[in-house]
Symmetry: C2
Subunit: 324 residues, 2 copies
């Protein structure tokens, strides 16, 4: 009977256990991968002096350039451009009115930089007047059909395979991962669960205003489209504090927009982890850092060197960039 | 071998399964309890035409008067009063300066109603200048030591036992429950996980402003204390949309401040559930509704009758009000 009991125990243990196959398999077995695994082991091992309770295992990820590609232009700007074009018929004045005129001429980057207010005007045009359900659907439809301008892939395939594995690895180790992005929160939430396994309530981002509309006793929440919160740079720790209410123990970014988030995360007590994805792979992805207008990585690269943060050299550290 | 295989399967199933003891045992087996159980069964049974995927099983709970007592005065106001008294020594001018003077004379309700700005001034005084870690600790310490003015119990024992069981029951059925309160989010988050099992990131509430403070390269998030978002009435659906990013399928409240949240929740497609806790028990708790200045329940009670929402008659429906 002792042998049978042992067999039972073994079988139950195997059945109830999470998958324990080799983690981070798209990562070369170098310093970056080892730093991640070492950190996770130190905070999850109950015997470790740096053990962290599961409820405090909060990890935050920037999105553009950290979880998916941000070149040659932020994905949300392409969405906004398509939304403006789709509504141009109902807005004939846009043909001669900036920033819309530049969008309609195909100069998206020019449209966004045509004036200080241009981004605000364009973002508002992409969502104002739609209720939350309708805007969700618009984003879902666009993500289904839109293609990346240089690779012609759906944007859901422009995500980084090694980062998907990292999200899985952290989840298997009872971390809660959040996205903390400068991008619009309502542009991300409709697809983050299916693409990253991150549910809408774990997405923090820039916010536009909404108002309540009551018609015949039916309550809807409607987008006004005016900027309300910019979740970038100094905004990221504020957004995390507003939304998550706890300081993360691990933060993942790729640009100066993530610097304050990494600083605040690592300023806490106990074991802390900060990682920067350095875009060094012009062949498989893009190579850019200190001089890029998109995803500039300058101060944060210096800070990483100063504080010993992990810097992922995409070309060397990743066996594979995008999913098959 | 077939019998052994069956035994294995049974044993594994028993070992891996969640607790399935009688749910909601502090609820009388009447219409309210049955309505809750019927709703949960309809949305969780995979064969039900009203089945809802676990990821969409979002439930929202008001806090004051729904999860814990709000009489004779909102708990947070007592906290604010204690904070003002604790800082009076450093602020001698407060002795003759409203609304602080009334607090120091022991007239807390009078202090809060002494002017339009009084609540804002008092709340700011309770937190301005503290960083997030320090304010968290102040709240934790207060919750450990403060006592309810009429029952002399710790506030963590002024929660409703039947609602704790409801939170457990929903969690056992793969719901995600959130608090959506008019109270300050930073006043609730330090203790909701230990008291309700609801982690900080699942608490939505009224918000005061914060700013980033950088000193010697160390980043902190510091409370400014000025009101930024009022998560009450029309604010609740907005707060849910900002924070959760999905419309709930079930909402639980007790006052007119919850009306729009209940309306928005029930205006969605598919199975929906709305419940109001009606305070009818002057002996074990308090009895109040249409004429109360705290937790007024008037329009929402009419709406409940009109739409067939579940109204909990506390005196009749709850075997027990507070935990032992």
């Amino acid at each position: 009977m002792k042998g049978l009991a042992l067999l039972f125990t073994l079988l139950i243990s195997l059945t109830c256990q999470a998958d324990t196959s080799t983690p981070l398999s798209s990562w070369q077995d170098g310093a970056s991968r080892q730093a991640i695994i070492s950190f996770v082991q130190r905070v999850t091992d109950p015997a470790s002096p740096e053990h962290v309770a599961p409820s405090d295992r909060i990890a935050v990820f920037d999105n553009d350039g950290t979880l998916w590609a941000e070149q040659p232009i932020y994905t949300q700007l392409l969405f906004v451009g398509d939304r403006v074009r789709a509504q141009a018929g109902e807005n004939p004045a846009w043909e001669s009115q900036e920033p819309f005129a530049s969008v309609l001429k195909g100069d998206l980057a020019g449209a966004f930089s045509s004036s200080h207010d241009a981004p605000v005007q364009l973002i508002r045009a992409s969502q104002a007047g739609l209720d939350t359900d309708s805007f969700d659907q618009v984003v879902r439809d666009w993500m289904q059909t839109a293609r990346h301008p240089t690779t012609d892939k759906p944007f859901t395939r422009m995500v980084y395979q090694p980062m998907l594995e990292l999200l899985d690895y952290l989840q298997d180790n009872d971390f809660k991962s959040f996205i903390v992005s400068g991008g619009g929160v309502d542009f991300m939430r409709p697809w983050t669960e299916s693409v990253y396994g991150i549910p809408p309530e774990r997405v923090v981002g820039s916010r536009t205003a909404k108002q309540l509309a009551v018609q015949d006793g039916v309550v809807r929440v409607v987008h006004e489209g005016t900027m309300e919160f910019n979740d970038d740079k100094e905004g990221k720790p504020i957004g995390i504090s507003q939304h998550i209410g706890r300081r993360p123990i691990a933060a993942f970014g790729n640009s100066d927009g993530d610097l304050q988030m990494l600083q605040w995360t690592t300023a806490g007590d106990g074991a802390r982890f900060a990682l920067i994805v350095h875009h060094t792979d012009a062949e498989r992805e893009w190579a850019y850092d200190r001089d890029s207008s998109i995803g500039r990585l300058d101060q944060a690269l210096d800070a990483a060197a100063e504080h010993g943060w992990t810097v992922v050299n995409m070309k060397q550290d990743w066996k594979q960039v995008f999913p098959d």
